[in-house]
Subunit: 255 residues, 2 copies
């Protein structure tokens, strides 16, 4: 990404090669938000999972930014940008799937053959896209309140327009609903777990999980989409259900 | 306290009068630290406990402060100050035990007859002192890395010297080890749970849990003092064991 990056890694005690869960965070987040607020590590320790939390964009004074919270630093959208001024630094897709993956698997006692991916909001979008495009690398997949159809909602349209321009084929490669719709029969694929708060203020305009559910339905993809009454878009929602997501990943990664 | 104060309250779903756990935070904390970082509410919901997290001192531009992190705002030490310039605002003991207690019990669906208290570091000191001095109000008691003998360690000596002056009798009334030593037979009292990280950087100079354990031993107070290998003084320590403390309080408050 042509800049210094930060991330956190949790390694469970007394393990040689732990299955590895990737957590992709949402708009405005740094690695701190998940690390400090999700309360995930107690269950990760209990299930013997390592967890890595990357940043959400390139960082630094030399990195292009915008005054919007949903574009530029803190808002990388897990794409490889192709449009100026973004294309030099904003390559979060490759950073997560290749560079940081290799580094973490080399430097920490994790099992590169047992990786899963999850995330929240923009990070749920990233997790679904990375998981669907790299099924051998990410063997388990889940998301909290993901942006499932970025090509059809304001957050995604604005970000993709900036980072990818008008190349709609490129948009489709970063759109979980489009990827799912284009897949063949997925009835043998591992189930995907998605939690969505019913009181989430972004539910109907930005998230629209029903679009993804319909696409899954069409190709036979097993999907457990759980609407959680009363929960909003905050980390209190994540911290309430993260242990169940860790169980989901542990089950699939240890089978 | 002659200023505006903030606190957080968690109320479990579907309860009429929940047992109430007080959480007192440590040096530099606001109500946010516990609320956001402890990951306590999932287990509190499961056990049907309400949880209130007060601030650690009076606040505001009109409130005396110091440049030290361990004196003044963020460092009230849960005493009623008697020395200028502190005595007008710094009355955290009365604020927690009386004013805020009445307000929370009046405004929220909690059971005023089933209250427990816990806390971390300076807040562990506060929890032990408030619990020991008000046994009918606080029926369950626990602490994380508490300052158990403030009269004998630098943090406590400096704070008590500032807030209470040279009145050593007053110091003793805010010192858990002194209070325990002065108690009669406590072999029928409810057990106290204390967790202490072995890698805590403040263990030997500021915390010294062995002093409290010896005092408990002398009066027959049941104490479960658990040294946790590898844990430091941070909220990762709290978040790892908070569910077990909630279980401890739920057991005692529901019996």
């Amino acid at each position: 990404l042509a800049c210094d990056m930060q991330f956190t890694v949790f390694v469970p005690p007394e393990t040689r090669r732990a299955p590895l869960l990737w957590w992709l965070s949402g708009l405005t987040c740094t690695p701190e938000n998940f690390t400090v607020k999700a309360g995930a590590y107690r269950q990760a320790a209990a299930r013997g999972l390592a967890v890595v939390a990357p940043d959400t964009s390139p960082r630094g004074p030399q990195v292009p930014d915008s005054e919007r919270y949903d574009l530029g630093q803190g808002a990388g959208f897990y794409v490889d940008a192709t449009v100026e001024p973004w294309s030099r630094h904003y390559r979060m897709y490759s950073y997560i799937s290749d560079e940081l993956n290799e580094l973490v698997c080399r430097e920490f006692p994790v099992d590169a053959g047992a990786q899963g991916i999850s995330g929240h909001s923009m990070g749920g979008h990233g997790a679904l896209v990375l998981g669907l495009r790299n099924p051998r690398r990410y063997r388990s997949l889940s998301a909290f309140a993901p942006i499932v159809a970025p090509s059809r909602v304001p957050w995604g349209q604005q970000a993709f327009g900036a980072y990818l321009g008008e190349d709609r084929d490129a948009w489709a490669r970063y759109d979980a609903t489009e990827l799912m719709q284009a897949a063949g029969d997925r009835s043998a694929a591992a189930p995907i777990l998605v939690d969505q708060g019913e009181a989430d203020e972004f539910l109907t305009e930005q998230l629209r999980p029903g679009l993804f559910a319909a696409a899954c339905d069409r190709v036979g993809q097993p999907l457990e989409l759980r609407y959680q009454p009363g929960y909003d878009h905050s980390y209190f929602f994540v911290s309430t259900f993260i242990a169940e997501h860790i169980d989901h990943h542990a089950r699939l990664l240890r089978s």
